[in-house]
Symmetry: C2
């Protein structure tokens, strides 16, 4: 564990986490230009400069003709930490970062594999995003540095994020839990067929997370029901699965089932109870495929018209949060109906 | 004030703000399809359905063949409130909303007009975004419904957002305050030349906001220095200029001068002290043009290399917040140096 020594040496002068060291090394591996490194690593410039100075003193990097280069010792460190170059998947048209899923070489394969997926069930408040959205979610998370060589936990996966992630071959480990055995079986079958090495488990997340999943992951994905209780439970389970500072979580949140008052309450929980910072909120990122059970939903019942929606209309914002301090909330949720409130409409 | 009566009638059954009524009417003006209305208005579906029912009872809308249509009474209301259709400026490539500034027909004109703008001064911690970013910021705010027929307040405008907004001819009123007389003169000159009707004023926002600007605006824009004190001051002045619930603010925040700990602290202030909800955070939305005073910055001094950046490297996230309850913070800031802290690097 050579990197432990490097971290220790830096920490004599500057408080640095392993995730921060990784960010800097990834940027240095990607470009030798200092200003581009500053742009890519997303840390404050005084902090970055101090760390680079320490890395130079330790002969991890060398500076030649104003270029920041990895020494042979540095290259060894990169290898030990399995650091890879930063990929940004920037849209060529509007320059928005992370959304150009066309750059993923798994598109054709994923679109093919997802064709026979289980259809959404009302009893689980299921409803999946378009396969293109799943790919966009993955390309976004790769751009954020939350996928490559990371351990990833997925809570509820009718969106098949696990399969898309697995096909990229980038993560170190992918674990999927879902209450729905049909989905677990489907994901399991594809995983075997495509050698994706996904770990799958049927689980009701109202139960506390099993011990073997606590504080083991870098990144989680979930797409919860939108009552305050369900949001808290799904995101809470995600957060307790995370290793600690610098780990990240992704989830969707709509305006269709969550008023801004609810958004406000939940953002407060994220910041205060859950020790997280909100780093990204992209409106209408997630587009959902219309439910086969549309006519049974509350949405349909209370709607002033009685025609089934023809086009996809249900969308949600993609939200990314980052952990600043470990979370330990992992209680059993005893209340039965936590999936509906007065703002709910798709159950 | 016909709409006051409509609002009153709805409010007998449902608590509704004028902004919410506007959102629904804009969506109804844009499409007659209920599900598309639900997608566009960004309110919860049970709430939307109840309001539509009330509007139907009041004969503002009628439902025919499952289509939601405006009655002649409804059309009058639309006219009285100066409601216009929703424009989303969606990127044709990646489908991200609000970022397709090429749809603005002011691009050529704005790029031309901004050519002789005053160059950034270090003493004011200035540094402007590329003109394309200014246009993107405007197209994003239009998409969010914060520009058309709105009263807009801009605090510090080396980005020339006021000119771009003025050229669209969409806002009802635009007021710009800036500490820098050169900028105020430049904006004023363009405003006269192009008949933009911008109201401009030299102002140091460490002073409380003049009474005539309190609670008068729908939207504010600012791009503050990033110490916690400066952030609080700039955003605070913006918020106290806003009318109330549903009004919105836009600002930039970097990772280069603000650590995630600072982000976290500031997000808490936004949610708790400032009664706002965060609705959007788009990473690396804002791209800044390199400063002419680059070699004098702390960034340059502490950088381990001594070459001036060739490409733009300084970027920030665009953040949109929405007010849930009026803010009244408007104190004088007595401390002189609030523009620099240990994370600062561009001053």
């Amino acid at each position: 564990m050579f990197y432990n020594q490097v971290l220790l040496n830096i920490n004599k002068k500057i408080k640095l986490t392993q995730k921060e060291l990784e960010k800097i090394l990834r940027a240095v591996l990607t470009t030798s230009n200092f200003w581009k490194i500053a742009e890519l690593c997303e840390l404050t410039l005084p902090f970055l400069s101090s760390v680079l100075r320490s890395l130079q003193e330790q002969e991890i990097i060398k500076i030649k003709d104003d270029k920041i280069l990895l020494s042979s010792k540095g290259k060894k460190l990169i290898q030990e930490l399995c650091i890879t170059k930063i990929q940004k998947f920037t849209c060529p048209y509007c320059k928005t970062e992370g959304v150009n899923f066309n750059l993923l070489n798994i598109k054709k394969k994923f679109l093919e594999l997802q064709k026979n997926r289980p259809q959404p069930l009302r009893k689980y408040d299921q409803g999946y995003i378009t396969p293109e959205t799943t790919l966009k979610r993955v390309s976004f998370a790769i751009s954020k540095g939350d996928v490559t060589n990371k351990e990833i936990f997925i809570i509820g996966d009718d969106d098949l994020v696990s399969i898309a992630l697995g096909l990229t071959r980038l993560p170190k480990r992918i674990v999927v839990v879902d209450i729905d055995k049909r989905l677990i079986d489907f994901i399991s079958k594809i995983s075997k067929k495509e050698s994706l090495n996904l770990e799958v488990l049927t689980l009701d997340v109202r139960e506390p997370l099993p011990k073997e999943f606590l504080h083991k992951f870098d990144t989680f994905f979930t797409d919860p029901s939108e009552t305050l209780e369900a949001l808290k439970m799904f995101i809470g389970r995600g957060l307790v699965s995370l290793k600690g500072v610098g780990s990240a979580g992704y989830f969707g949140l709509t305006h269709i089932e969550a008023s801004l008052d609810k958004w406000h309450k939940f953002e407060k929980i994220i910041l205060s109870e859950f020790n997280c910072v909100i780093t990204d909120i992209i409106s209408n990122f997630n587009e959902y495929v219309n439910w086969p059970y549309a006519t049974q939903t509350r949405a349909f019942k209370i709607s002033p018209v009685k025609s089934i929606p023809k086009n996809n209309w249900y969308k949600s914002s993609l939200i990314r949060i980052e952990l600043l301090k470990r979370v330990s909330w992992n209680l059993k949720v005893r209340k039965k109906n936590i999936y509906s409130d007065k703002e709910a409409s798709t159950t």
